[in-house]
């Protein structure tokens, strides 16, 4: 029982990452109808926003250490971050320690701008082009973005720890009356889960309860009619693209303490996020979120030892197996709309 609760929690967490990435993708892919292979790259850029903030905050000047030498025999130097000399050591260190949450503030404007520039500069010319062309151009863009990050930060993963206060884990099992250590859960993963839930809710609320959101939803359903009514739907789609980029970017920022980011992390998530969106059903936002959680939880259960003992390697293929099963039983995924990307 405890093992099942544990994997359920794990699955919620995995699922919230999938859902968040898929949500951004489905805004662009499921609704604007652009096959965006650069979505993984947006997630990656978000993660590197966190790295950048960390680097900026730890910008340092060198001080020579008396009487010591480095490995080449030159005088040893040590780095003192500017923030430490400005605000004192304790506060300075505290600020660096909180670089990942602080990066959210940095990432939102950066990702919005990236999204706007991408849409205005490139994607808008591809709305009417065949999907094949969209794939090629966005894949090319993804490679270029990736390579730029690689030139700046290298290929190695870069550790970006969570703030001290969120390290360690919560003994969840004790609350439920289990023995200590049976169900433990890292604080940061809980933070990630609640953060995703908040972002998902915010996006839904925005689309559901604002006039802007209403127009966008109308535009998704029938772009031409909305245009004929004299509404400049293009401008709103640009905004949506920016929001999608920001959602992907924030997913990336918050993910960095869970896994050290590297330049190709976007590609690792790309295929998965497409699977999630399609399993959820094209054109359905709730579908993408639902599919994200479903696949995350099933994947966690598939990695349980006794299941792996019965079906070796099941954890390698569970996502794809479930995707096939769902697509064969429900022709348009979980909550897909008719006629979106079907021909």
């Amino acid at each position: 029982m405890d093992a099942i609760i544990l994997q359920f929690l794990n699955g919620l967490d995995k699922g919230s990452a999938y859902a968040l990435i898929a949500l951004g993708l489905t805004l662009i892919f499921g609704t604007l109808g652009v096959v965006n292979f650069a979505h993984g790259a947006l997630f990656m850029i978000g993660a590197f926003c966190a790295v950048t903030v960390q680097r900026l905050l730890s910008l340092s000047y060198e001080v020579e250490v008396e009487g010591e030498t480095d490995f080449l025999g030159n005088p040893m130097t040590t780095d003192i971050p500017y923030v430490q000399s400005w605000f004192g050591e304790a506060i300075g260190q505290g600020i660096i320690d909180w670089s990942v949450p602080l990066a959210i503030l940095f990432a939102i404007p950066v990702m919005l701008i990236v999204g706007f520039v991408m849409e205005r500069g490139l994607i808008q010319y591809f709305y009417k082009r065949p999907h094949a062309d969209q794939i090629l151009v966005t894949f090319g863009l993804a490679i270029v973005l990736q390579e730029i990050i690689k030139q700046i930060y290298g290929a190695n993963p870069i550790p970006t720890p969570a703030p001290e206060a969120f390290r360690g884990s919560l003994d969840f099992g004790v609350w439920l009356g289990f023995d200590p250590n049976t169900i433990i859960y890292p604080y940061w993963r809980l933070v990630y889960f609640f953060f995703s839930a908040f972002i998902i809710a915010a996006v839904f609320a925005f689309l559901q309860f604002t006039t802007f959101g209403m127009v966008v939803r109308a535009g998704m359903a029938d772009r031409e009619t909305v245009g004929l009514l004299g509404i400049n739907i293009d401008k709103r789609f640009t905004v949506m693209f920016g929001i999608a980029a920001a959602v992907a970017g924030l997913a990336g920022v918050m993910y960095t303490p869970i896994n050290s980011p590297n330049y190709h992390m976007g590609m690792d998530f790309l295929v998965l996020s497409f699977v999630v969106v399609v399993v959820g059903g094209m054109g359905s936002l709730p579908g993408a979120v639902l599919a994200g959680f479903l696949l995350g939880i099933l994947q966690s259960f598939a990695s349980m030892n006794w299941i792996k003992d019965i079906l070796p390697g099941i954890d390698q293929i569970i996502i794809y197996l479930v995707a096939i099963a769902i697509l064969l039983t429900r022709p348009r995924g979980l909550l897909g709309r008719k006629g979106v990307m079907e021909d």
């Binding site: 295929v271 390698q316 064969l328």
Partner: protein
């Protein structure tokens, strides 16, 4: 002639001439000059050009004609490679049984996957094929290691049975051959400062590619091909007229899977190793990119796209700073270093960057792919004289509402 109209015959002849003369055409620079870096006329790369050409031609029969975008075609290539290497291990080093088995097994594989996946269309179809391919890759890498040798890839071993060849051949591994003609046999021709490699394996691949290219032309022009185009332009209308399109699309899927298997079998015949990463989604994505880059729905486009990507992968990745310095050595020091710094990010370990930029440039400036580029050049050269004829295929390509 050969059942082709004049235009197709010309195309076929051009392709035949190009492939047969490839060892010369691809080595335009003297072998000791600084530009020799750009020579692509060595056996391995030439073999890759035609093998991936076959792969892309086959992919295009499905995608270009029916519009069904398979994102798992690499699985068939991988299955073909594995079957071929197993044939070398168990039966004989002759490439014929290996290639035949590769085509049959991948055809069967395609039949099963196609039968299931074709129940859906559009993006749902793409994801189904992707899922099958990714499952094949993941399992081949881990659980199926007894069959696939996992991470390392399936290779020949000294103690393989090789029933027809009479088992082990002493202390060294046997080489793949066609009735005694070794695939790796190469004759080198030196003319002045130039040198050209003529490789048996390449010519075998080239001959096969010409055969399957001819087959592809026939398919494109046949009633079957027209039926497939009808699926692409409006499947619903087709269904309403009482035609069941499924058998046609399934046939196209299996044929293109067999092309992929053939490519896999040839790959293993040229270099007897089959690795799991041949089935990964990136490999499937590559053939999609090759086809779109070259021009989906055109006959020659996919081959051009394949050549383009493989050229970048193999030539640009090998340009390092030393090579750059040797190119710019004639410049004054400061300018030399400056030029090296400018070019450095785009070559060697940065070859991906150049490739990404090329993808974007092609799709932005040449909406019909490389084929359109060729036609524009052609039109520019011949003036407006042939405007009508030259524009026809580009027009056709543009009309494809490819999915």
């Amino acid at each position: 002639m050969l059942g082709l109209n004049r235009k197709d015959l010309t195309l076929m002849m051009i392709v035949a001439a190009m492939t047969l003369l490839a060892p010369i055409i691809l080595n335009p620079f003297p072998s000791d000059s600084a530009m020799a870096q750009f020579n692509a006329g060595y056996p391995d790369l030439m073999q890759r050009f035609v093998i991936f050409g076959i792969f892309a031609i086959g992919f295009n029969i499905l995608f270009g004609l029916t519009g069904y975008l398979s994102f798992g075609h690499a699985a068939f290539l991988g299955v073909g490679s594995y079957s071929a290497v197993w044939m070398f291990k168990l039966l004989s080093m002759n490439v014929i049984p290996a290639i035949v088995l590769a085509v049959i097994i991948s055809g069967l594989f395609a039949l099963v996957i196609g039968y299931i996946s074709l129940r859906r269309s559009g993006i749902y179809f793409s994801i189904l094929t992707l899922a099958f391919a990714q499952m094949s890759f993941n399992l081949a890498y881990s659980v199926l290691t007894p069959i696939t040798n996992g991470e390392t890839g399936l290779q020949l071993a000294l103690d393989d049975p090789r029933v027809l060849d009479g088992g082990s051949s002493g202390g060294s591994l046997p080489v793949t051959q066609l009735f005694g003609l070794e695939m790796r046999a190469t004759t080198q021709l030196e003319i002045g400062a130039w040198s050209f490699d003529f490789n048996v394996g390449y010519y075998l691949c080239a001959a096969i590619m010409l055969a399957v290219f001819y087959l592809a032309i026939r398919i494109f022009r046949s009633p079957f091909g027209i039926m497939l185009r009808a699926v692409k332009s409006n499947q619903q209308r087709m269904n309403y007229t009482g035609l069941n399109s499924r058998p046609y699309t399934l046939a196209a899927f299996v044929i293109s899977g067999m092309y992929a298997g053939l490519a896999g079998g040839l790959m293993a015949s040229m270099d007897p190793l089959a690795g799991a990463e041949r089935m990964q989604w990136t490999a499937s994505g590559e053939v999609v990119l090759m086809t779109i880059l070259g021009g989906a729905g055109t006959l020659i486009g996919p081959v051009l796209g394949a050549g383009f990507i493989k050229y970048f992968e193999n030539i640009f990745s090998k340009i390092n700073d030393n090579v750059l310095h040797s190119w710019f050595a004639v410049m004054p020091d400061g300018i030399e270093d400056f030029l090296v710094t400018i070019v450095h990010p785009f070559v060697g370990k940065g070859w991906h960057l150049t490739l990404g930029l090329m993808f974007m440039a092609v799709v932005i400036f040449l909406p019909g792919g490389l084929v359109e580029g060729g036609q524009r050049i052609g039109r520019f050269v011949t003036g407006r004289r042939n405007k009508k004829a030259g524009g026809a295929e580009a027009e056709a390509a543009r009309k494809q509402p490819a999915e």
